[in-house]
Symmetry: C2
Subunit: 149 residues, 2 copies
Amino acid sequence: MTARQTAQAQKNFPAAPEKSVTAAKPLETVDGAAHCKATGQVLDLIGDKWTIMVVGVLSRGPTRFNEIMRAVGGVSHRMLTLTLRGLVRNGLVSRTPFATIPPRVDYELTELGRSLIEPLKVMSGWAMDNGAALEQAKARYDTAQSSEQ
Amino acid sequence: MTARQTAQAQKNFPAAPEKSVTAAKPLETVDGAAHCKATGQVLDLIGDKWTIMVVGVLSRGPTRFNEIMRAVGGVSHRMLTLTLRGLVRNGLVSRTPFATIPPRVDYELTELGRSLIEPLKVMSGWAMDNGAALEQAKARYDTAQSSEQ
DNA sequence: CTGGATCCCGAAGGATACTG
DNA sequence: CAGTATCCTTCGGGATCCAG
């Protein structure tokens, strides 16, 4: 969530593919620095260990801190705090504390946050479709490596 | 690329939302462990600092090692090697060495690799659309924090 | 219950030198 | 040119204790 932005700050693609191909094959290439930069930004938001899991939980409705923690499972107290803070900061999640005792805080996806679900489902769909192929490739690669040693 | 899978290996969602909501609002929720797990897998592939940049470059056609390095800019020799190896291992990129002198190696997206471009463009599109909103949210959040100190 | 602060370890990743 | 090996620094992230 931090490593990339530094590298990206001074990152200007040296040369776009001369004569933007956007008209020719708009769906075949990712061409252009803008796309890469933009995609990188999103990955900085959700590319860490816990964010998508949390978003996944929150997509089911407003949830309290400890509920999220149990639902995600395996996340430390501290990391959940940080993850949520990041989401709130980026406006993807709203945080509404109740002055009850014991205190209670609800987290909920904002409109912006919900708009992210679609892209996530696309990724998820791709993963479901191609996960097997990926595993296969890995297996093949690994056995190939160890045998030719 | 490694941190998550360990956590995810033993990660079984404790309880799916009782009575799967899949029929009701299939496009509004990310519900289900499968989706989260799958999405997590993809993020393990492309969630690191360099992979998408490399994929972006390769989406324009076969490219040599040093070309990629220059095109990406800021990536170290070592990390590019590792990134490419990961992509090759997962079957997203093919590696074809030429026994010329000096040696030359071309990297190219495989069919599987190209199929990933679409999802990436979706993410990229979302980022382009909402990047401003994210920046705004961050700015608001940060100023709010520093002022109420 | 939610959140902050500290400590600490292991992994990520840059720099550099070496090999084919 | 492409790839490997080593060193060294930084940082993510878990455990733990403290506070409101």
